[in-house]
Subunit: 156 residues, 3 copies
């Protein structure tokens, strides 16, 4: 029963994590295919490796943020932001590969989503501290507000 | 008592995590030794760096999968798969360094183990959803089946 | 109420995680600035990329260790060690960029802090096993001892 309750609070995060792992494997297969294909341009190989490396560099940061935000505050907005991050990452990867000119998208991507998740963490911790020291509990209202705010991420 | 129960459900995963960290440090020391040794071939340095980088790139993916699978379903098969992954990774690292010909093992490794862990996550979440919406609980039988299935990973 | 208890046990870890993410983003912005600035030396770009990459390579290892140590044993010393790690990492990054001679600081950094966190994990798991099989519980005394020992990390 204890394990049942645990899963209840994190199952959306688990689904997003599984999706992100599938995406990682997709990226890795792309790199492998590009590197073993005999007639690929050296630039294309470098480009797909860079795209993959940038995505992998940012991956632990994203995971840590999403799980902290989901556990501290509320899982639904965190999972929704995670899903958006995966979409942004996919666009970034495709965009990085596709361009033939020198200008590539920058090193960072999804800054706004990471910021939103970071704010969720902060609000969760501050809310906990308020509950502990002042005895007030704004969690319900904060969760509602966060869910509403997460839809703002949809704007480009 | 609460913390005691928490540790009960994850201690095998913690042991595997600590082992994987030791392995990471071992890889890092190998890289450091190879790079500072004055009479190493440039190819050897590049090879050991690539091996380390590929292992590090896949590390967060593996960690996320193992912990999700362990928390959602059952820790013993997840930890067993994690142990196998560490063995596979060690073989990969050694194999990457040892070869002098151009052909290296691919970018990805341990695909089957990651797939197994992903399936465990999926089964855990589906089982939770079934429990919630249909009121049936197959967790006991699923856990037994998973433990049995994890031994199948031993086959090469 | 259940979520309230969860946050109670991890809120310091969450704060450290959020700080580390801010630091990651700071590093990434440094890399981006260095790469897009037109009159930077190629060596400087390579140096800042290497510093960032080494930090990112070690990041999942650190995260896994800190969270395991914090959950298994006690969050305050783990968060304190995490804070020190962030300071050490900042020094490492600045030191890596600043040098113009060929000698760079090694690939690994913060070995002592990772070792301390690893020991905390080990002690937590051993303590759990002792509690389970022998019925003794040294957790209180171990936590006090760990808090005291963590101040030893302050010595250079």
């Amino acid at each position: 029963m204890d394990s049942y309750n645990t899963v209840e609070n994190i199952y959306l995060l688990v689904i997003i994590t599984a999706l992100s792992v599938l995406q990682n494997i997709f990226f890795a297969l792309k790199v492998e295919k590009e590197c073993t294909c005999p007639n690929t341009h050296a630039l294309a190989i470098e480009r797909v490796s860079s795209a993959n490396r940038n995505c992998m560099d940012a991956y632990p940061t994203f995971m840590a943020m999403m799980w902290c935000a989901g556990v501290c505050l509320s899982q639904a907005p965190a999972a929704f932001a995670g899903l958006l991050y995966l979409v942004v990452r996919h666009k970034y990867f495709i965009g990085y590969m596709g361009q033939t000119s020198q200008s590539t998208p920058g090193y960072l991507f999804g800054k706004r989503i990471l910021l939103f998740l970071g704010l969720m963490c902060l609000v969760g911790v501050v809310n906990y501290l308020l509950t502990r020291f002042l005895g007030t509990d704004y969690k319900e209202s904060v969760e509602t507000f966060t869910s509403a705010a997460s839809t703002l991420l949809l704007f480009p």
